[in-house]
Symmetry: C2
């Protein structure tokens, strides 16, 4: 049996370029895996195999005709279902948007298509990318949560449905599913990947991110997504250096890590605490425990104030006008957010730059922050998608985070999170590459 | 009796350059006027005649020694007492800051000194630049309000204490005193004059502005104040074109004006309504009544939500920790602001760019918006400093506004307000110059 679906994106791109197989064959293997597993994993909100195959055949024809080929030519990508697609519905995980068919692609989807990627389908999101659990299951054990909100993207890449996927993070929705499902995930700097055509729930926090099966895969897809978007005021100016080139550069010296327990530490499982402490220990002198001065101790509440204030703006209308279409859990949360005082919100926005200055100062002495990507491995059952307390602080600061699937706790995957400076994804990926090899060789 | 204090800043600069008089003589005349009038007008929070004269003599010595001279060399400037000065107290109009002596000049004060200006003293501000009336009186009639919050700066320039002054506007605190006291006032684009070292009450709204006795005077001082300030995240990048040069350029054709009644119209005095309508009428075909689409109809409330939310952040601590040092009026206002929901605040921030887009579209067809600078002439008595409903909307949009002292209603001054595009102060001043001449010749 063919297993092209198990290739990394980088391998698949090489195989396609060498003519070892066609985009159609690659897509058939991916779709075959979906057929085999979807009843259990439930990663997809929308997938039309005929449409996916037709796009793959068109890509093959284009290649056969000697057309210009983008860096993602023929690679299947899963798109979180809060990201608009002109050829597939986008329902935002909510009955409010049932049957909604956008007329335009989101800017990031258009960028993927322009790079030759094939939009394979829409992956499951939690309700409005918020807290309520989705139908998706963790492929490592179907009794466990895949995390949220980018549940289908994390689980689908982990379960070999597709090599690449897009997610979004407002609290911890890219990094946590990466950790729980045992895949690589990158939440870049706020504004690197533009948000035009993506459901907003907090413009200060909402960040597009990517899933892949290697760090290089993350670099490959992110390079095609880092474009300027006049639809997104937070969008960067574009013309950034290639992350893939940066990834391939060897660090001049072994990197140095600042191990941050963060104010969330006491809420982590002891197994997770031990696992990450062990990583820090194994790194020896190149890793030192560090901390950040006040008001960093309040960072979880400050993130929560931004989230509550902006979420009340973006989703308040749903609560006012169609509460019956919201889950009880989300309704209760929106009801609570409604009363967030502007004073707390403004304070949180103001403090952000103070904390960010301290963070930048710390990273003058270290190449990256090392910390837990989640409070523990995937929760058993579906009461919760897990806590974002090890993510929200970095989302708040708008700094890039990566999760490497290098730990196991109680038989389930746990990631190792690295955090870098705003705009320095290249250095973060290079540092992550070093750590990834180190942990692989240690484990081997 | 010598009356150098009645010169415009531009005239005074020429006279100083030509050696017609010294900076010391100019300052003596200004101080003489202060001695004569201060018991009535009460424009000054702090003034030390010896220190002012000593600075003037140092400027004369510098000139005599052939030193480099800045464009404001020897010109006395009054500084609103919420702007830090390293050599004078800065008490923010509140007992909370009694005796407070900053160790650094505000960035704008340092820029004035670098341009050769003489910091003459600190002008009266209302309590914390907020709503409570100050001790200052309107020099046109001491029974009338000089407006707020930049009361001393507006009244002092009007009463010939000094040719130039700095003020700040969060609602209407630059333009309203200009209108009430019959002087020229410019509130430039948010971020043109940096705010480092200035008391903040709303970072989205607080805007430094200037007073003078001609439009050219406003250009002269603003040119020395338009610098980048790393202490102010809203500060522009600097290196802007000279406003004075732009001011001197003749428009290619007679400018066109969009007369906006604004959503505040019904709250204006009938005398003020008639006076501005008459200006529009006299302009004939070059002025058309215009409007902006929704949500412009809500612009007063949207400004209020930003003000309330941010003011609760900046002043909330005073309410919590030292309410007895606040006036009853301000205490009540802060108490009300405390409950502003973040949702309203975020909505107001979001809507701002929508309205601004519509405003920019309107100004593709017109050179400036013409509107009232206040709901009427200065109020009789001191119950209130007047309403900011004709100003807050423009402060909210961050667009530049100028008031020209060309109208009289019930024997008291009233300005004519022109509003331009963000960053286009040069065009605004050129357009204002045309209108100012037009109204002067019509009146004559």
């Amino acid at each position: 049996m063919s297993t092209l679906n198990e290739l990394t994106a980088t391998q698949a791109a090489s195989g396609l370029a060498a003519g070892d197989f066609s985009a159609e064959q690659l897509m058939r293997d991916c779709l075959g895996r979906v057929t085999e597993r979807e009843d259990d994993v439930r990663a997809w909100a929308y997938i039309d195999p005929d449409h996916a195959l037709q796009q793959a055949r068109a890509a093959d024809t284009h290649r056969a005709n000697g057309g210009d080929l983008g860096p993602l030519h023929g690679l299947p990508v899963g798109i979180k279902d809060i990201i608009d697609t002109a050829d597939m519905p986008t329902e935002n995980g909510s009955p409010i948007y049932q049957g909604r068919q956008p007329s335009l692609d989101a800017t990031c989807v258009a960028a993927l298509r322009a790079a030759g990627a094939i939009i394979m389908g829409k992956t499951v999101t939690t309700e409005l990318a918020n807290i309520n659990s989705s139908k998706t299951r963790n492929p490592h054990d179907l009794e466990y949560s895949p995390g949220g909100s980018s549940a289908g993207s994390g689980a689908g890449v982990a379960d070999f449905h597709m090599p690449l996927a897009l997610g979004t993070q407002t609290g911890g929705s890219v990094i946590r599913p990466a950790s729980f499902n045992g895949v690589y995930g990158l939440k870049p700097t706020l504004g690197l990947i533009p948000r035009g055509g993506v459901l907003l729930q907090s413009h200060t926090l909402d960040t597009l991110g990517v899933y892949g099966r290697t760090i290089e895969d993350l670099a490959l897809i992110t390079d095609s997504l880092s474009i300027h978007d006049p639809r997104d005021p937070q969008s960067h100016a574009g013309n950034r250096a290639s992350l893939r080139a940066a990834y391939r550069t060897k660090p001049a010296a072994p990197p140095r890590f600042a191990f941050l327990k963060t104010p969330a530490w006491e809420q982590a499982d002891s197994g997770a605490q031990e696992a990450i402490t062990d990583v820090a220990r194994r790194l020896g002198a190149s890793c030192q425990e560090a901390d950040l001065p006040a008001p960093f101790d309040r960072v979880i509440d400050l993130h929560a104030a931004i989230f509550a204030g902006e979420n009340a703006h973006y989703y308040g209308g749903h609560l006012d006008e169609r509460p019956e279409l919201l889950s009880e859990k989300l309704r209760a949360r929106l009801q609570a957010n409604k009363d967030t005082p502007a004073r707390d919100y403004v304070e949180a926005l103001t403090k952000r730059e103070t904390i960010h200055d301290d963070f930048e100062t710390l990273l003058e002495r270290y190449d990256a922050v090392l910390c837990l990507p989640a409070a523990g491995p995937a929760p058993h059952g579906f009461e919760t998608t897990g806590s974002a307390i090890f993510n929200g602080l970095w989302t708040y600061l708008g700094v890039p985070c990566i999760s490497l699937p290098r730990l196991t706790v109680d038989g389930m995957p746990l990631g190792v999170q690295l955090v870098g400076k705003r705009g320095e994804e290249g250095k973060l990926l290079r540092t992550a590459r070093w750590l990834d090899s180190f942990l692989a060789s240690e484990a081997g």
